[in-house]
Assembly symmetry: C2
Homo-oligomer: 185 residues x 2
């Protein structure tokens, strides 16, 4: 019954809406699963519906939502799961709080210029924010605080999906092999 | 890297405050871990602080809280974890909803009479409820709907902790061995 339990990891994708979080997260998920790595993906929008229907988009509510995602991700990582989280998570302090409290934490900064994200506008949200239909939209009238020392940065305006995904997968595999080596007596 | 992934399971302890959920859940956790079974415990009160600080004790809020715990438990169980949940979860409909949607679900009914639970009153809550300081308290002025066909029932007013724990552990081990046998080609 006992399994060989590998150490888990949280891979936290942060960036503007339209920066490519979900796309690269999905691609990395597929690639990691293909390598036999126990992986889970928590998408900010999907988790919001499950855990945070009560929360809005004030700073306080956004931070609470991020902490809830962090809570779930941390439990999963303790059971040896690589947890990919895709959430705008615009505020640096709460991301750093998670990094401190969780430990095995890789921050992946989806570093695409606002102009590119706004042109992509996959959900039509920038258009609505510019039209004043959405208030407090990250990048428009609410801040995005970029990571100061992310483990991975993907400039998705210049890199291909394969390139960005490759960086993330390499970082995860590198982390896991280090951890496993360190665990060998 | 690939691990031998066993199927997970949710073991849902339901019962009045003071019925022994946390006690038996803790004892079963220790025993399952000692057997090398990957186990997690989600205690209703603790999870409430992490995921549901916004929620109160109306039927609607209680059900939402139970659904959030179910969401976390379901993800964990998909990764081969045996998840022990200890939550009053007084309403039958939402428990049955989880059973239907999750699948690998064992319901453990902590079947102790109200009079016994009230005499134990480990948190002093019955006293406060009787004094009118807490409204909507399960068993006093809010209903507890007992399970109609629980996989395990523990009459903690008559059984010892070891007896009740043994029933739960036996049910879990039985479930896992069935599942593993069925998975063998």
């Amino acid at each position: 019954m006992p399994e060989q339990q590998s150490k888990g990891l949280i891979v936290w994708f942060t960036g503007l809406s339209g920066s490519g979080k979900t796309t690269i997260c999905n691609a990395a998920f597929t690639e990691l699963m293909a390598r036999g790595i126990r992986t889970e993906m928590l998408d900010g929008d999907a988790v919001r519906k499950q855990l945070s229907r009560d929360l809005g988009f004030s700073k306080r509510d956004r931070d609470e939502n991020i902490r809830r995602i962090g809570f779930v991700a941390e439990i999963l990582s303790r059971h040896g799961v690589v947890v990919l989280v895709a959430a705008i998570s615009p505020y640096r302090a709460v991301r750093d709080e998670l990094r401190q409290s969780i430990g095995n934490f890789l921050e992946v900064y989806m570093d695409a210029p606002l102009s590119v994200c706004e042109e992509r506008d996959p959900k039509g949200l920038y258009k609505r924010a510019r039209a004043g239909e959405i208030a407090g939209f990250t990048g428009i009238d609410d801040p995005y605080e970029e990571p100061l020392a992310p483990e991975v940065a993907c400039n998705t305006a210049q890199e291909t999906i394969i390139e960005s995904t490759g960086k993330v997968v390499a970082a995860v595999v590198g982390f896991l092999s280090q951890t496993n080596d360190a665990g060998t007596p």
